[in-house]
C-alpha cells in the first residue's frame, strides 16, 4: 500500500473520531461506555429471565455484545461510507475503496478499546485463556471483519441507489442480533428455530470464539472454516461489484 493511501486512511479515521466526539463532554469514553451500558441493560433483563443457566453469563453476554457491536459497526459504517463522503467524491477522484475500508477501520479501533473492558472482565472472573484460545478468538475476529467488509462493499453501493436500505438495514441488524446466540445460550434453543439460528454464520463464529475464550473448549471448527472461505470469496466478488459500479453511480449521489 502506498504511503499516501495509508495517510488517507489515517485521516479518514481521525476525521470520523473528531466528528463523532466533537462537543461531547465524555468524548472518546463513549466508545467504551456505550457497549457497557447496552451490556448492563441486557444483563439485568436476561439474567432475570434465564436465571443461572449459563456459567459465566456476564462474560458470555459481554463478549457477545462487543463482538456483535463490532460487526454491526463495520456494516453500518460501510453502508454510509460513500454517502457520507459524497461532497469529496464529487470533487476529487481519490481511490474510492479507501472510503469503505476507512469506515471499517473505525470499527476496528473502537473494538480495540473495548478489548480492554473484556480483559478487565476476564481478570475479575479469574479466567486466563491459553495462547491457543486467544489465537482462536483473534481468528474469529478476522473472519467477522472480512465478512463485514465484504457486506460493506456491496451495501455501500446499493445504499446510494436505494436510500431505503438505511431503514431496512437497521431492522435487519436487530433481527440478526436475536438470531445470534448472544443473550441466550445455544443449548436453550430447540425445534425449527434452531435451523434459522444455525443458518446464521455469526452463530458459528461466535460459538467458535466464545467457547474457546471462556470455556477453553473447541467447537464449530469446520463450520467456521467454511464460513471463513466463503467470506473471503464473498469479499472478492463484493469488491469486484464495488469497483465496477462505483464510477457509474457518481451522478446518483
Amino acid at each position: 500500500m502506498k504511503r499516501t493511501d495509508k495517510d488517507l486512511l489515517l485521516e479518514f479515521v481521525k476525521t470520523d473520531f473528531t466528528l463523532r466526539y466533537n462537543n461531547s463532554i465524555l468524548g472518546f469514553l463513549w466508545v467504551v461506555i456505550k457497549p457497557l451500558l447496552i451490556f448492563t441493560v441486557m444483563y439485568i433483563v436476561f439474567s432475570l429471565l434465564l436465571g443461572n443457566t449459563v456459567k459465566f453469563y456476564a462474560l458470555y453476554l459481554l463478549l457477545g455484545t462487543i463482538m456483535y457491536t463490532f460487526f454491526q459497526e463495520i456494516t453500518i459504517n460501510g453502508l454510509n461510507s460513500l454517502l457520507q463522503k459524497k461532497d469529496m467524491m464529487l470533487k476529487v477522484n481519490f481511490k474510492r475503496y479507501l472510503a469503505v475500508v476507512g469506515s471499517s477501520l473505525i470499527a476496528v479501533v473502537n473494538f480495540t478499546f473495548n478489548l480492554v473492558v473484556i480483559i478487565i472482565f476476564f481478570a475479575f472472573n479469574h479466567i486466563l485463556p491459553s495462547p491457543l484460545d486467544i489465537l482462536i478468538f483473534l481468528f474469529g475476529i478476522v473472519i467477522l471483519y472480512i465478512l463485514g467488509l465484504a457486506i460493506s462493499f456491496s451495501i455501500s453501493i446499493l445504499h446510494v441507489l436505494f436510500r431505503d436500505l438505511q431503514h431496512i438495514w437497521d431492522i435487519f441488524m436487530l433481527v440478526l442480533f436475536y438470531l445470534t446466540p448472544i443473550v441466550y445460550p445455544l443449548s436453550l434453543i430447540k425445534g425449527k428455530t434452531l435451523y434459522l439460528i444455525d443458518a446464521n454464520p455469526l452463530t458459528h463464529i461466535f460459538n467458535f470464539t466464545r467457547e474457546a475464550l471462556i470455556y477453553n473448549k473447541i467447537e464449530s471448527v469446520y463450520s467456521t472454516l467454511i464460513i471463513f472461505i466463503i467470506s473471503v470469496v464473498f469479499l472478492y466478488f463484493s469488491y469486484r461489484f464495488f469497483s465496477k459500479k462505483i464510477m457509474k453511480i457518481a451522478e446518483d449521489f
Binding site: T4, E11, D87
Partner: protein, 388 residues
C-alpha cells in the same frame, strides 16, 4: 508539437431527468410497478479536444452549457456515456468552488484531510501547512470550524490547498468567483507562476478579463457542444454575441429579426475593436415589416455594468421622413474618446415626438476601445495639451 497531456475523444454525457416525481409513499402504493418516467438530457454532446503540456486552456459558456459536467468527466468523477478521456500526470481538480470540505472540522483538520485526498502525504502537508495558511490569509482562524467561515474564506483555503498539491494538471472551476480583489490578484500571480513552471491548466471562469489575459486557447461551449475554439479574443467575441443577441426585443411587430448593427473602422472594415482616436461608423441595417414615418433613432452606448456612457440621437438634429422596409442608416463618429474597456450598443427607434418606443433592442452589439493613454479614470478621455 508539444506532448499531449489530456485528450478527450467524442465525449457524450446524458443525464436522466425524471418527468414526474414520486414524492409520496401513496404513489408507490397506488402504482407499485409503474416505472418512473425519465427523459434524457444531453449535458455534453460529442466533445473532442486535446490539451498539450504547459497550455492554459479556458472554457467558457453560459450557465448550464455543460462546463462543470465536462470538468467532472476530465477529473474522472463522472463516467461519460460515450467516448474516452486520456490524461497523463497528476491531476488536481478544483470543482464547483472547492475540494470537498467538511463544515464541522476546523480549518487545520480540513487542510490535512483535503491534502491527503489530493494525494499528498501527511509529512508533505506538515511541511506546506504554513504556506497554505499564509496564501489563504487565514492566520488566526486555523482552529475555527469551517462552518463559521465565509464562502470567500472557504474558497481561499480550498484554492490554497489545491495549488500547493504539486499537480501537473490543474482544473480550476470558478476560482475567482467569490474571492475579494486582493485574493484575485494573488490568484493571477499564482497563474503566472504556474504558467512559468510549465503546468497545464484548464480554467473555467466568467471573468472575461482573466480568460483573455491568461488563456492560450479558449473553448466556447453552447448546449453541451463546442461552438467555437481558438484564440481568446475571437472566442470571447462570439460568446458576447450569443449572450447578448438573445437580448430583449420589445415591439417586435414592426421589425424583422434582421436588424443589425455593423461597426466600421476608418478603412471601412467591419470590426469591433477600435482605437480611441479612430473614426468609427455605426451602420444600422434594418429590415422592417412596414414603413415607419418620422422616426427618431437613438444609439445608446453602455458599459458592461449597465452604466450609460453616452447616446447618439437623431432627435432635433436629423429629420428622417420615413424608413423604408429595407435600408441602412450610418452615423460617423470622428472618434470615440472612451477609456479602454468593453462597451455595448443598444438601439431604440422612437416615433416623432419620442412618446412611443417602436423598437428597442438592448446590447445589440459590443465593441472594444483601446486607448494608448492608460491610467485614466472615469469614462472618457479629454483632449488637450500641457504647457508651462
Amino acid at each position: 508539437m508539444k506532448e499531449t497531456v489530456i485528450e478527450l475523444k467524442n465525449i457524450t454525457k446524458n443525464f436522466k431527468i425524471p418527468i414526474e416525481r414520486r414524492t409520496q409513499m401513496k404513489d408507490y402504493f397506488i402504482h407499485p410497478f409503474r416505472k418512473a418516467k425519465y427523459r434524457s438530457f444531453v449535458a455534453v454532446d460529442n466533445v473532442s479536444f486535446s490539451v498539450s503540456k504547459g497550455e492554459f486552456l479556458g472554457i467558457i459558456g453560459r450557465n448550464g452549457s455543460g462546463k462543470s459536467t465536462l470538468l467532472k468527466i476530465i477529473s474522472n468523477i463522472y463516467l461519460p456515456n460515450k467516448g474516452e478521456v486520456i490524461s497523463k500526470g497528476k491531476l488536481i481538480p478544483f470543482l464547483e468552488l472547492g475540494v470537498g470540505f467538511n463544515p464541522e472540522l476546523t480549518a487545520k483538520d480540513n487542510v490535512f484531510l483535503n491534502g491527503v485526498i489530493l494525494g499528498l502525504t501527511r509529512d508533505q502537508i506538515k511541511a506546506k501547512y504554513k504556506s497554505i495558511i499564509e496564501f489563504s490569509e487565514l492566520q488566526g482562524f486555523e482552529e475555527t470550524q469551517l462552518k463559521n467561515f465565509s464562502s470567500g474564506m472557504q474558497v481561499r483555503l480550498a484554492f490554497s490547498i489545491a495549488i500547493q498539491s504539486e499537480g501537473d494538471i490543474y482544473i480550476l472551476d470558478e476560482v475567482l468567483a467569490v474571492g475579494d480583489l486582493a485574493f484575485q490578484q494573488k490568484c493571477f500571480d499564482m497563474f503566472r507562476t504556474l504558467k512559468q513552471q510549465g503546468k497545464t491548466i484548464i480554467f473555467v471562469s466568467h471573468s472575461m478579463g482573466a480568460i483573455e489575459e491568461f488563456c492560450d486557447r479558449v473553448i466556447l461551449l453552447e448546449k453541451g457542444s463546442i461552438s467555437k475554439e481558438g484564440k481568446a479574443f475571437n472566442v470571447l467575441q462570439k460568446y458576447s454575441e450569443i449572450s447578448f443577441n438573445k437580448s430583449k426585443i420589445s415591439k417586435t411587430d414592426k421589425i424583422d429579426e434582421k436588424l443589425k448593427i455593423k461597426l466600421l473602422n476608418s478603412k471601412g472594415e467591419d470590426t469591433s475593436i477600435f482605437d480611441s482616436n479612430e473614426k468609427v461608423t455605426i451602420s444600422l441595417e434594418y429590415n422592417l415589416k412596414e414603413i415607419i414615418v418620422n422616426p427618431n433613432i437613438e444609439f445608446i452606448i453602455t458599459r458592461d455594468d449597465g452604466t450609460v456612457v453616452s447616446s447618439i440621437s437623431t432627435y432635433n438634429i436629423f429629420n428622417i421622413d420615413k424608413l423604408e422596409k429595407k435600408g441602412h442608416i450610418n452615423f460617423v463618429c470622428n472618434n470615440l474618446k472612451l477609456i479602454s474597456s468593453e462597451y455595448f450598443i443598444s438601439i431604440v427607434i422612437y416615433n416623432k415626438d419620442l412618446t412611443e418606443q417602436l423598437v428597442s433592442i438592448e446590447r445589440i452589439k459590443n465593441f472594444k476601445i483601446f486607448s494608448k493613454k492608460t491610467n485614466i479614470k472615469g469614462f472618457f478621455e479629454i483632449d488637450g495639451n500641457w504647457s508651462f
